[in-house]
């Protein structure tokens, strides 16, 4: 079914692409949000990727590879958005206006906070590998194909990124467990 839509859209059939875009946009946005961690930036990247997909669809050689190809466009759009947004990032952290934190929930929230911070300090390229592997479930070889890079590079990026994220989570746990920290 999707293959047929891809072929028709590649021939310029607007209804076919509208159906493809409608079916794909949620996953594209979910992917973009998890790389960029910002709703508006994710929306920009999603729109750019899907409009690029329409423009470049006639160049897609294998219609069965539409999803990985589209995810590649999303990832590259995220790189572009992240670059254009860089000057706005990293100065101050967003302050959540969510509900008050109960004592029981505080440790987990602190770990999540550290995780969020560590993730935001990764490059978009490292974030993309983490999200493609741990959120979309791509294997390393598939990520290598999607991103157009050697599998060894994907592996080293993933290991490095995950090491930093684990350090952040475990560091937050250690601080929680350290009585000296509590009374400091």
């Amino acid at each position: 079914m999707q293959r047929e839509l891809v072929l028709r859209a590649a021939r310029g059939e607007e209804a076919a692409f509208a159906a493809l875009a409608d079916a794909s946009i949620d996953r594209c946005h979910a992917l973009a949000y998890r790389i960029l961690r910002d709703h508006h930036a994710a929306q920009d990247a999603t729109q750019q990727a899907l409009l690029s997909a329409w423009r470049d669809l006639p160049t897609l050689r294998d219609p069965d590879r539409f999803d990985p190809w589209l995810h590649r466009l999303v990832v590259h759009a995220c790189y572009g958005v992240a670059r254009s947004e860089r000057r706005w990032q990293g100065k101050v952290r967003m302050i959540s206006d969510g509900p008050m934190v109960t004592p029981d929930a505080a440790p987990a929230l602190a770990a999540r906070d550290e995780l969020e911070r560590a993730f935001s300090q990764l490059t978009p390229e490292h974030r993309a590998v983490v999200v493609l592997h741990h959120y979309l479930g791509y294997q390393l070889a598939e990520i290598a194909e999607v991103l157009g890079m050697p599998a060894a590079t994907v592996r080293s990026r993933l290991l490095r990124a995950m090491r930093r994220l684990r350090e952040a989570v475990e560091g937050a746990s250690n601080v929680r467990d350290d009585p000296g920290e509590r009374t400091a």
Binding site: A18, A21, I25, R34, Q43, D44, T46, E116, V130, V169
Partner: protein
Amino acid sequence: MTTIDPTDRFIADWLEDGPVTAPPQARATVLGAFPSIAQRRPSPLRRAWAGLSPQLRVVLVAATILALLAAGLVGVPAAMRRVPDEAAPSQVPASVAPGLDTPAPASTITVVPTGSPAATPTPVPLGRTPWILVRNHAGVGPAPAWLTVLAPDGSETRTVPIALETPGEPKVATWSPDGTEIAFAWGDATSAAVYRMPADGGAVQLVRDCVAPCADVLGLDWSPDGRTLAVAVTRSTGGRVTGGAIDVTDVATGAITTILELAGEAVIDPEWSPDGTRLAYWRVTGRDGGTQAVGGGRTHVINADGSDDRPVTPPGRTMGTPDWSPDGSRLVVAENPFDWLPTYGGLYLVDPDGGPDAQPILLLDAGKGGATDPAFTQDGQTIVFAWNNDVDTTNEIRSIGVDGSGMRTLNRAAARSYQTEPQPRPSAAP
């Protein structure tokens, strides 16, 4: 049995959190905009070429070159010849472009290819609603380039694709007085040119180039009579920016009349008065001819013929990006409008006839953030501006009443820019 590390599980759960559906606005933008974008269709030759093995490609290229050499259809490049080329550049008629055997076109109006000739852009229906034009950071990476328009109440954004294949991105843009066209400057760090296109996208026409000593385009405004564009350009010598100018450019012919030429200062954001007799502009003094401003500058008003150029904001304060009220009695300006200045500032109302001694009226104390590029709406009761928030680093389009009341956020996603402009221009409002 595989055991998942608790930390990895924690990270995976954290990744799962977040939206799983796209906002309706994104869906509407994509579905509304894509039909206006021409698809890239590889030629049959290119498709066939891509299917060949690398070895076969090498053989084919070599055979082709040998065949052309044998037939005398190609020669050794002049730079590789031992005997200098006798055709000195001075012997080439001025009307003949180097490397061409036909005269260069006299007119500067050119229809720019819009991608696949088979794909006719379908206009995006914008209706007659007075939209606000926002310069977009499109053109980033491989994405298509477009401008974003925003409904005055912030309820809807639309994308106007730019059918240009020249590398670059939109720099500045302006509506035609009747709101049916958009003129925009397009280029990258080293190039710029001014184009026009239908307000809902479609065929793009070159209005004018920006070639040395013109180095870049920093502002653009369509005159109320629709005949000319005020174009703020920088000047360069030997690759170094040395000054700025206002070029009044005929929209139909591309003919340029320079009404202001500055050395060591830059011109940003010229704006026609509603009656078309004057221009307000931001005159910036700084290093490198003004484009890397360090000291900021003042808003000036100048007659359309270049006479009576004078500042209308106080000395020692940086106030720029002006816009006229629909009746021409006031200017709204932003203090320290851009992030390369040390601090942001608020919005002020200025008397365009008052001169530098007239005190600006504080409209908005920006506080922790910055208001940039304000613009009056057609009724003159509201001002729309871009807002850069230093506290949480967000960017927004906001509006505020001319009495400083009722500030509200119109849109966040579209505000990755510094330009707002109502459509049509206030002077053309019924």
